[in-house]
Symmetry: D4
Subunit: 250 residues, 8 copies
C-alpha cells in the first residue's frame, strides 16, 4: 500500500536514517498515484456500487471472458455491453451468475444487491426500435442499485400513450428519454415533469436522420430547460448518470 510507503519514508526521517533533503528527493520520485492522487475524489466511499463495465463491441468472447475473470475478485456488479450470445456463453463458463439480456444485448453479473438509489429512475422510449438502447440504460441503472420503471413505445406522435404513463413518470426522480428520428420525446417529457431528463438519441431512422445526428441535434436544442444529452445510442451512459443523480446522499 502506497500510504505505507510514504509513512515508512517519514519514519526513516524521524529516525534519522534519511535526511529531509533525501526525503524530498524520494518523495518526488514516487509514482504519482502513491501520493493518493490516483483518483482525486475524496468521497471515495461513493464509489461503492459502481459496476465494472466492459464495452463488448469489437472484443472477442475470449477477451471478454479474460477481463471478466480478472474483475470477479472485486465485489462489484459486472456489465458487458453490446455483446451477443456467443460472448455470453463464453462468459458463463467464467461465472455462473452471468445472465444474458436479449433486449439490451448485454450480460450482467450481479455480486452486490445493495439498494444505492433513493428514488425511482424511469426509462421512456419513443419507438420499438429504441428498446435496445432503453434496456441498456435500464439494466445499467438496476446494476447500480436503483429501482427502475419503464414506458416503451411512447412517441410524441401518439402523445396519449405518454400521458397514460403519467402517474408512473411523475413518481420518478430522474427520467431517461430515448428517441430516434426527430428526437422530440425529451422535450415533451421535460415539459411535463420537473426532474432531470437524460436524453439519449438513438440511431433509429433512415435518410436525413443521419444515423442519429438529427435526434441528437434536436435534443441539444430542447426548449425544456431540464434536458441534458449523451451520445447516440449511449444507453449505458444515461443509466450511469441517472444513477449518480439518484444516489442516496451520505
Amino acid at each position: 500500500m502506497n500510504r505505507q510507503n510514504i509513512l515508512r519514508l517519514l519514519e526513516k526521517i524521524k529516525q534519522g536514517t534519511m535526511t529531509p533533503d533525501q526525503g524530498l528527493e524520494a518523495l518526488k520520485k514516487l509514482p504519482f498515484e502513491d501520493l493518493g492522487f490516483a483518483r482525486v475524489d475524496h468521497h471515495r466511499t461513493i464509489r461503492h456500487g459502481f459496476p465494472e463495465v466492459v464495452f463488448g463491441q469489437g472484443k472477442k468472447p475470449d477477451q471478454v471472458a479474460a477481463i471478466v475473470r480478472s474483475l470477479l475478485s472485486q465485489k462489484s456488479n459486472i456489465l458487458i455491453t453490446r455483446c451477443d450470445r456467443n460472448t455470453y456463453n463464453r462468459v458463463r463458463r467464467v461465472s455462473s451468475k452471468a445472465r444474458y439480456h436479449d433486449d439490451a444485448r448485454a450480460v450482467s453479473i450481479v455480486q452486490d444487491s445493495t439498494a444505492y438509489g433513493e428514488g425511482i429512475i424511469h426509462v421512456v422510449c419513443a419507438g420499438t426500435t429504441d428498446i435496445p438502447v432503453a434496456e441498456e440504460a435500464a439494466l445499467t441503472a438496476r446494476l447500480m442499485g436503483n429501482k427502475v420503471e419503464t414506458t416503451f413505445d411512447a412517441g410524441v406522435a401518439g402523445i396519449h400513450r405518454l400521458l397514460s404513463a403519467r402517474e408512473s413518470l411523475a413518481r420518478a426522480s430522474v427520467i431517461i428519454a430515448v428517441a430516434g428520428m426527430e428526437g422530440a420525446l425529451p422535450s415533451v417529457v421535460g415539459g411535463l415533469f420537473s426532474v432531470p431528463i437524460i436524453a439519449v438519441p438513438s440511431s433509429t431512422g433512415y435518410g436525413s436522420s443521419l444515423g442519429g445526428i438529427t435526434a441528437l441535434l434536436a435534443m441539444l436544442n430542447s426548449c425544456a430547460s431540464n434536458v441534458t444529452v449523451v451520445n447516440i445510442d449511449n444507453g449505458f451512459g444515461a443509466g450511469y448518470v441517472a444513477s449518480l443523480i439518484n444516489r442516496k446522499r451520505p
Copy 2:
C-alpha cells in the same frame, strides 16, 4: 393573341396562299408559348385567386414600388414579403390600398376578396420568436382567400397550451406548424390531428440549432405520417401550399 396567329396561318393554308410545307416551317419557328404551352396547366381557371408575390429582401423601395405598379392592373392580391416600413411607405404612394403587417414584415394590397378556401387553415407556432414566420404564413393564406386561425407560443415543452387550443385545431382542414430549436411541434400536432400538416422550421435558436437546420432535419424525420416540410423561415411557401390544399374544388 397567339391563338389568332396560328389561326391566321391555317387560314392562309386553307386559302392556298401558303403551302402545307411552308406552314410546317412557320409553325416550328413560332415562339414556343404561342402554341399554348407557356403553362401546361389546363385548369387555368384554378389560377384565379393566386396572389402576385414580390420577394422584398434585397430589393430597394423604388424597385419594389415599380414592380407593384406593373402588377396593379391585374386584379390579383399583391404580397410583398420580407420588407420594412420604408418599402411600405414607398409602395403606399403607388397604391393607397397597401397595408403593412408588422409581425409578418410584409405589405399586402387586397384587390380580390373572394373566398377561395373551403375549410379553415390553422397556423400554430412554438415560441414568440417564431411569430414573424407564422404571421407570414397566415397573411399569405388570407390573401389567397382563406379563413385562418392562429395559436402562437404553443411549444411542446408546454403541451397544455397546445391542448388548450384543441377545439380550434380540430376544426382545421390544414395545419401549418412553425417551430425553431428542436422542431418537435409538427410531430405532436401531426399525432393529434389527421389533416395535412405543413411544417416550417424557423431559424430561431443558437449554437447547435445551426440556423434552423436542426429543426428542419427533425421535421423531415417526423414520426407522424401526415407531415411535409418547406424551407427554413418559408412562411410564404407554407401558406401557399396550405391554400392550394384548402381550395374549393370545382
Copy 3:
C-alpha cells in the same frame, strides 16, 4: 367503454352514492384517454380508409406476421413496407388476401375497396432507380382509396418525356415527384402544374449525392411555391399526405 365509465360515475353522483367531491377525485384518477383525448381529433370518421401500416425493415417475417394477424380484425387495408418475399410468404399464411408488389418491395392486404379519394393522384419519377420509391407512394395512395396514375423515368435532362405526359399530369389533384441526384424534377413539375407537389428525394446517385441529401436540399429550395418535401426514400409518407389532400370532403 370509457364513456360508460364516466357516465356510471355521474350516475352515482346523481343517485347520491358518491359525493361531488369524491367524483372530482375519481375523475382526476381516470386514465387520460378515458376522457376521450386519446386522439384529440373530433372528425373521427375521417379516419376511415386509413391503412394500418407496418414498417417492415428490420423486422423478422414471424414478427410481421404476428402484427398482421392482430390487425386483420379491423376492416382497414394493411400495408407492409420495405419487406422482401420471405416476409410475404410468411404473411400469406396469415391472410390469403396478401399480395406482394415487387417494385414497391411491399405487401398489401385489401379489406376495404371504398373510393375515399376525389381526384387523381399522379406519381412521377426521374429515373428507373427511383421506381421503388415511386411505387411505394403509388401503392400507399391506392390502398387509401385513390385513383393513381404514374409517369416513370421522366428526368429533367429529358424534359420532353415530362411534357409528353402533360395531359395526364394536368388532370391530377396532387402530384408526387420522386427524384435522386440533383432532385430538380419537383421544381419543373411545380412550375408546370398549379396543384400541390409532394417532393420525395431518393437515395439514388453516388459521390456528392450524399445518399439523397443533395436531392433533399434541392427540393427544399425549390423555386416553385407549391412544393413540400418528405424524408429521403419516404414514398409511403408522400402517398399518405397526397391521400389526405385528395380525400373527399364531408
Copy 4:
C-alpha cells in the same frame, strides 16, 4: 377556479338540474387544463424555488421590462439572460432589486433567498473567454438557492491549475464544466471526480472550432461515463439542471 367549475357541475348533477349525459358533454368541452393536466407534475411543491427566466437576446428593453413587471407579483427570483446594461437600466425602473452581472451579461432580481440546494455546485471553465458562459451557469444556480463555487481558466493544457482546485472540486455535488476549442475539460474533470458533470461547450475558438460544434462533439464523446451535455453557450441550462440534481429531497 377550475376545481370549482367541475364541482359546481357535479353538484348540478347531484341536484338533478343536469343529467349525467349532459354532464359528460359538458366535461368534454371544458378547457383541458381545467381538469388539472396543465402540468402533469404531481410533486407540484417541487416547483418552489424555480426562477422565472427571460431570454433577453433579441428583446427590446421595454419588452423585457414589461415581462418583468408581470412576473414580479410571483414571489420567484427573476433571471434575464443575454442582455446588456441598457436593458438593466430599463428593468431597474420596474424593480429596484434588479442587479446587473457584467460577466454573465444578465440581470437578476432576488425575491426568494431560501436555500433549496443541499450540496455545492462547482463551475469550472477552461479559458478566460469561457467566463461569461460559466458566470451565467453560476448565477442561475445561485438564483435557484444553491451554494456555488467556481474555478476559472483551468484548461487541460495546464492540468496543474485544475489539480490545484481539487479540494474544492472534491466537495461538489455536481460540477459544471465549460470549455471551447477542443472541449476536453469535462473528460478530465469527469475522470477525477465521481459526481455528475454537466458539460457546456462554448463558442470560444476560431477556424475549425466551428462556433462551438467541435467542443460539443468532443464532449458528447467523452470517455468519462459521468458526463452529459447541453447546447453551446447554454450556461443557463447547465445551471438549471445542476440545481435540479442538487435539490434537497423531500
Copy 5:
C-alpha cells in the same frame, strides 16, 4: 413520322376537309414531341458519334443485355459503365463485338470508328487507385472518336513525374485530371497548361478524405482559372465533356 402527321393535317386544311379551327384544336392535342421539340437542339447532326451509355451499377446482367440488344440497331458505340465480368459474359452473347476493360470496369461495343475529335485528350491521374476512374474517362473519350493519351500515377507530391510528361500534356486540347486525397493535381496541371482542365475527384483515401468530398472541394477551389469539376468518380462525365470540347467544328 410526326412531320408527316402535321403535314397531313395541314393538307386537310388546304383541301378543306378540316377547318382552321379544328386544325388548331388538333394541333394542341398532338403529342408534344410531334412538333419537333423532343430535343430542342437544332444542330442535330452534332449528335452523331455520341455513344449510348448504360449505367451498369445495380443492374443485373440480364437487364443490361436486354438494354444492349435494343440499342444495337442504332449505329452508335455502346458503353456499359461500372459492371463486372459477369455482365460482360452475358452481353457478349448479345454482341460478339463486346469487349471488357478491366481497369475501367466497363464494357464497350464499337460500331462506329469515325474520328470525331480534332485534337488529343490527355487523361492524367494522381495515384494507382485513381486508375479505374481515369480509364473510364479515357474509354469514354475513345468511344466518342477521340485520340487519347494517358499519364498515370503522377501525384503532386512527386511533381517530377508530372513534369516528365510535359511534352505529351502540352500537346493536348483538353486535359482530364483525376485525383483523390487532397485533389491538388488539377491545380498544378491547370497552372502548367492553358487548355480546359476537367477535374475528377476520386473516392480514394480514408478518414477525412470523406469518400472524395475533400478532393471535390479542393478542386472547386482551384487557384487555376481553367478548371471545372464533375462528380466524384465520374470518369464517364469527364470523358464525355472533354469529347464535346474536342469535337471537330462544322
Copy 6:
C-alpha cells in the same frame, strides 16, 4: 535574357574557358525558369487574348490602381472583379479606358479587341438575383474576345421562358448556366442542348440553400452528361473556361 545566359555559358565551354564539369555545375545553379520551364506550355501563342485579372474583393482602391498601372504596359485587356464604384473612380485616374459594369460589379479596360472566339457563348441565369454572377461571366467572355448572348430570369419553375430562348441557345457553342436555390437550371439546359454546359451555383437563397452549397451539390449531380461545375458565384471562372472552349483553333 535567360536564353542568353545559357548560350553564353555554352560559348564559354566551346571556347574552353569553362570545362564541361564546371558547366554542369553552373547549369544546376541557374534559376529554374531560365531553362524555359517557367510555363511548360508550348503553345505559348495561345496565351494571346487572355485578360489580366485582379480579384478586387478585400483590396483597397489604391492597391487595385497600383496593380492596374503595372499591368497597363502589356496589351492585354484588364478585368477587376468584385469591386465597387470607389475602386472604379480610383482606377479611372490610372486609365481613362476604364469602364464600370454595375451588374457585374466589375471594371474593364479594353486594350485588345481581337475576336478570339469562334462561336457564341450564351449565359443563362435562373433568377434576377443571379444576374451579377451571370454578368461577370458574360463580361469575362467578352473581354476574352467572344460574342456573348444572354437570357436572364429563366428559372426551371417557368420552363416556358427557357424554351422561348431556344433559338438563341441552340446557336451557342458553349452555355454558362447560373442558378441558386435548387440549382436545377444546368440539368434542364444540358438536356436540351448538346454543347458543353458550365454550371455556376450562386449564393442566392436562404435557410437550407446554405449559401450556395445546395445549388453546387445539385449541379455536381446533374443527370445531364454535358455539365461541369465551378465554385459558388465564380462567374469569372465560368467565363474563362467557356472562352477557352470557344477559342479559335490554330
Copy 7:
C-alpha cells in the same frame, strides 16, 4: 518556495514536533504544484526562449496592456497576436520596446535575442491574402530565436515561382506552408523537400472554401508523408512548433 515548505515539514518530523502520520496528512493537503508537478516537464531549461503569448482578439487595449505589464518582469519575448494599432499604441505606453507588425497584425516586445534555433525555418505561402498568417508564423519563429526566410505568393497554379525559390527552401530545416482555397501547397512542397512541413490552412477563398475547411481537409489528406497540420489561420501555432523542431539540442 514550496520546496521550502516540504523541507520544513520533513524537518519537523525529524525533530519530532510532527508525527509521521501527521506528516502524511499534511502532505496530502499541500497544494498540488508544491510537489513539483505543476509542469511535469523535467527538461525545464528547455523552456528558455519561449515567448509569452497574448491572444489579442477580443481583448481591449487596456486589458492587453495590463497583461503585458505583468509579463514584462520575466525576461521572455512577448507576442501579442491578432491586434490592431490601437492596442499597439496602448501597449507602447507600457513598454517602449513594443513594435507593431502590420502584415502579421501583431505586436512584439523583444527582451531576449538569444539564437535558440539551429537551422533555418522557411515560411512559404500561396497567395497575397495568405500573407498575414504567414507573417504571424514568421514573427513567432523569430521571437523564439530562429533564423527565418520567406517566399510569398507561390501558389501551385504557378509552380515555377515555387521552383525559383528552391535553393532557399532546400536550405531549410523546417518549412511552414500557408495556403487557402484548395490548400495544395504543402503537398507540392512536401514532395520536393524532405524536411518536416507544417501546413497552415488559411481562411482565404469564398463559396465552397468554407472559411478554410476545404484547405484544412486537403492538407490532412496530403499525399506527402512529411506534412502535419494546424488549425485554420493558426500562424502562431505553426511558428511555435517549427521553433520546437528547429531548437538546438542540448
Copy 8:
C-alpha cells in the same frame, strides 16, 4: 546516368561537334529529371534511412509481393501497412526477413539497422482500440532508425495513468499521441511536455464520433501550442514525421 548525358553534350560543344545553339535546343528537350530536378532536395544524403512504404489496403497479396520484390534491391527497410496475414505469407516467400506485426497490421522487412534518430520517440494512446494505430506509428519510427517507447491505454478520464508514465514521457524528443472519441489526449500531453506533439485521431468511437472527425477537430483546436495533427488513423504519417524531427543533424 543523366549526369553523363549532359556532360557528353557539353563535351560535344567543347569539341565543336555541336554548336552552342544546338546545345541549347538539346538541353530543352532533355527529360526534366535529367537536369537533376527530379527531387529538388539538395541534402540528398538525408534520404538515407527512409523506408520504402507500401500502402497495403486494397492491394492483393500478389501485387504487394511483386512491389516488394522490386524494392528489395535497394538497401532500405520496407514497410507494408494495413495488410493481413495472407499478404504476409505471400511476402515471406519473396523475403525471408519479412515479419508480421499483429497489432500494427503491418509487415516489416529490415535491411538497414542504422540508428538515424537522436532522442527517443514516445507513442502514447488513449484506449485499447487505439493500439493498432499507435503500433503502426511505433513500427514506422523503429524502421526509420529510432528508439521508441510506448504508453498505451492512458486516456484523459484516467489522468493518473498518464502521470504515472511521466518519467518516460519527459525523456522523449517527440511524442505521438493517438486518441479517438473526444481526442483530448494530445492537449493534456502537450500541456505537460514541451516537445513537439504529433496528434493522431483514431476512428475509435460510435455515434457522434463520426468515424474520427470529432477527435480530428478536437486536436486541431488544441489549447496546447505544441500540437500538430495528421489524418485519421494515420499512424504511419505520425511515425514518419516524428522520425524526421528526431533525426540526427548533420
